[in-house]
């Protein structure tokens, strides 16, 4: 149905002294959605889910990458292979045929009948000066899908389908509750009988009691109309209830993608494991060990090198992208604290280019400390060797790609190379 390939969105951020920097809201995301399928996109707030969703229906222009719309499964696979093997010619041929990004003007307007979006906050997504009927008719009228009396009739029918009385057509949004407004937003999104609907946190602004009703409504539509959905949410329970497949995002990147049950019960990526372990389990007896991540999500202006997750990853190892600064910081912490007795006052830890200089310390004692602390402080795994003059050499790193873990599962972690 739709496929994103190496999709990027870098927002320019004007900085004072440093000049313009780029905030990498979405970076190199590749994701395909089959017809009739519901793909859940999960991740913490700020991980780029909404930005991805907005690019998929062209509310935001990507900085790079490609989106293919309505391409058959085989073409998408071919496109991906062409990209991987650097076969520009075949990629260009497929792009020309299916690229959503190359659509303009009336062609794009026509496509807008085939895809739509439901936004997170139904209090701001409906124009306060529009009557409900006009809200629902807007996509039909703007795209010329239906006009006049036909559009009116369809809008009234839709009101009924989303479980609201027809009389609501003459009301204004402020006269409706949050749940009712979200029903209106859903009616609007379905008014041109789209094949693809992007749902950006469709329930997270609503009362808990209303959330289930809205999810059931969506499920019902999906069953009746075979609509393809991309369901964006930070709530694993919502994904677990609605989705066929799950994509996990972290810091603008795709960490893992696979069938829902597979991902939720057997997470492969260390981040997914932590994410799922934080969800309370339905059966208390089955409580699993909770993995608490240290630190915060990274600054998107200068994300960590290598694997973006490495500073927080409990399984990170020498190739994950450690820098001399990171290693120096942790060693300094040990030298000044726990091992103060061993090293004393006169030790200086200086990060250099891919090396860390430890002045005033015996290389043998450093080696011993590294040996002991390696298990807990993952950055220490990156020390390749300690030279005679106490220079710590840092390992070369690798940027993880999306590795195929099994037929229907891909993981962006070096452990699955």
């Amino acid at each position: 149905m739709i496929g994103a390939f190496n999709l990027k969105k870098y927002f320019p951020v004007r900085g004072g002294v440093v000049g313009t920097q780029y905030l990498k809201a979405v970076d190199n995301v590749t994701l395909t959605v089959r017809r009739g399928e519901v793909v859940g996109v999960v991740g913490e707030s700020g991980s780029g889910k909404s930005t991805l969703g907005r690019m998929l229906i062209r509310l935001l222009e990507p900085t790079g990458g490609e989106i293919l719309f309505d391409a058959p499964e085989e073409e998408m696979v071919k496109y991906r292979e062409a990209l991987e093997s650097g076969d520009k010619e075949s990629a260009e041929m497929i792009s020309r045929k299916y690229s959503l990004l190359r659509k303009k003007g009336s062609e794009l307007r026509k496509l807008r009948t085939r895809m739509s979006m439901v936004f997170q906050d139904p209090y701001s997504s409906l124009d306060p000066r529009f009557r409900i009927l006009d809200v629902i008719m807007e996509p039909m009228i703007s795209t010329g899908y239906l006009r006049g009396e036909e559009a009116r009739k369809k809008a009234l029918d839709l009101l009924e389908e989303v479980g609201l009385p027809r009389a609501f057509g003459n009301r204004y949004p402020h006269e409706l509750s949050g749940g009712q407004r979200q029903r209106v937003a859903i009616a609007r999104a379905l008014s041109t009988d789209p094949e693809l609907v992007i749902l950006d946190e469709p329930t997270s602004a609503l009362d808990v009691s209303v959330q289930a009703q809205i999810l059931n409504l969506l499920k019902e539509f999906r069953r009746r109309k075979n609509i393809t959905m991309v369901l964006i949410t930070h709530n694993i329970a919502v994904v677990s209830y609605m989705a066929d497949r799950v994509a996990v995002m972290y810091s603008g990147r795709l960490m893992e993608i696979g069938d829902k049950d597979d991902v939720l019960t057997r997470p492969k990526h260390p981040y997914t494991m932590a994410l799922i372990s934080s969800v309370p389990r339905p059966r208390p007896g089955e409580a699993r060990k909770r993995i608490v991540l240290k630190g915060d999500p990274p600054n998107l202006l200068s994300p960590p090198r290598g694997c973006v997750f490495h500073p927080r990853c409990p399984m990170a190892f020498h190739e994950c992208g450690w820098t001399a600064e990171e290693v120096a910081e942790d060693i300094n912490y040990l030298v000044q604290g726990k091992y103060y007795n061993v090293f004393g006052d006169n030790v200086k830890v200086i990060p250099l280019q891919d090396k860390v200089k430890v002045e005033g310390a015996n290389p043998e004692s450093i080696k011993k400390v590294l040996e002991v602390e390696r298990e807990n402080i993952r950055s220490l795994t990156a020390v390749k060797e300690v030279t005679e003059d106490s220079l710590l050499i840092i390992h070369a790193f690798q940027e993880p790609k999306l590795y195929k873990e099994s037929e229907r599962r891909s993981v962006s972690c070096l452990l699955y190379r």
Binding site: R112, M117, F119, P128, P139, R171, S177, A185
Partner: protein
């Protein structure tokens, strides 16, 4: 949460009225403003109701031209040449109110269109408009109005045009800033996702949402414009062939101001009272449209 709203249909209107009527000074302002409007309408359509035969001219009395103090026959006294001040003020309100409305609404319409275009289209157009309005803002508007008036010729019509030219940039700036915030709203994004064209978004979504604050601004500005207009007439910048106008009316008693101060005070009061009333009313309206103040 799902069940309310049977009675909700007019709830917003009722709430708005409640907010407005709980503000006593705003209500007083509105009553005075409406009194001016009613007076203007009577003078326009049936002046005989107030005992006036020709509202387009002051009625002179050369038999007794020297200003007389207020009395039972002339409640506000008379001004040179023997004009009944009360009647003259009642006649003049129509002219001042009419021209001021024309100026403010004209300025608001032009300003709103330009402001929305600049903010929505952005780029060069926006830059150009902002520099242009900067120039307007850096010159005192009375000076600017006089300059434009000289260029266009000194008559009521050209003064109206001059003041519209002076006034629209304020509205352009104001709607521009309103538009900049509205265009970031999710419902505009939803309209884009629905395939709405730029023109449709500007005029169907953004314009209607800028209207309430602009209407408040209009009511606040009405007071200043009446003042400016009357000032220009008072200093004799608009040549007047006996047209009932408050500034001109005040200027008639100027030679007698020491012996007969009422000749200037009463027309001046009529202007001040109007300016005050629209300001009070505008403040009340601002409360109505500001959601933070209506809990």
């Amino acid at each position: 949460m799902e069940e309310r709203t049977e009675e909700g249909k007019y709830s917003n209107l009722i709430l708005s009225l409640k907010v407005f009527f709980s503000n006593r000074t705003a209500v007083a302002g509105m009553v005075i403003f409406l009194a001016y409007v009613v007076d203007a309408l009577i003078m326009q359509f049936d002046p005989r109701l107030l005992g006036v035969t020709n509202p387009n001219q002051f009625t002179y009395n050369f038999v007794n031209p020297v200003p007389q103090p207020p009395s039972s026959q002339y409640p506000l006294g008379t001004t040179y040449p023997g004009i009944n001040l009360l009647q003259a003020i009642l006649e003049a309100i129509r002219v001042d109110l009419g021209y001021s409305m024309l100026i403010v609404v004209g300025g608001a319409v032009i300003g709103a269109v330009v402001g929305i275009l600049a903010a929505y289209v952005g780029g060069y157009l926006d830059e150009l408009l902002m520099r242009f309005t900067d120039i307007f803002f850096s010159v005192p508007y009375l000076v600017l109005a006089i300059a434009v008036g000289f260029a266009l010729g000194r008559s009521f019509t050209s003064m109206v045009i001059a003041l519209i030219i002076v006034w629209w940039p304020i509205y352009a700036r104001y709607t521009r800033s309103l538009t900049l915030s509205i265009k970031e709203s999710v419902f505009v994004e939803a309209a884009k996702a629905a395939g709405a064209s730029m023109v449709r978004i500007m005029f169907k979504h953004i314009l209607p949402n800028t209207l309430p604050p602009v209407v408040v601004q209009i009511s606040l500005d009405l007071g200043s414009v009446v003042g400016v207009f009357a000032t220009l007439a008072f200093i004799g910048f608009i040549p007047n062939a006996n047209t009932p106008e408050l500034g001109y009316l005040a200027s008639l008693g100027l030679n007698y101001v020491q012996s007969a101060p009422w000749t200037v005070i009463f027309p001046g009061l009529a202007i001040t009272l109007f300016a005050l009333s629209v300001n009070l009313m505008g403040d009340g309206l601002r409360d109505v449209i500001d959601p933070r103040r209506r809990s």
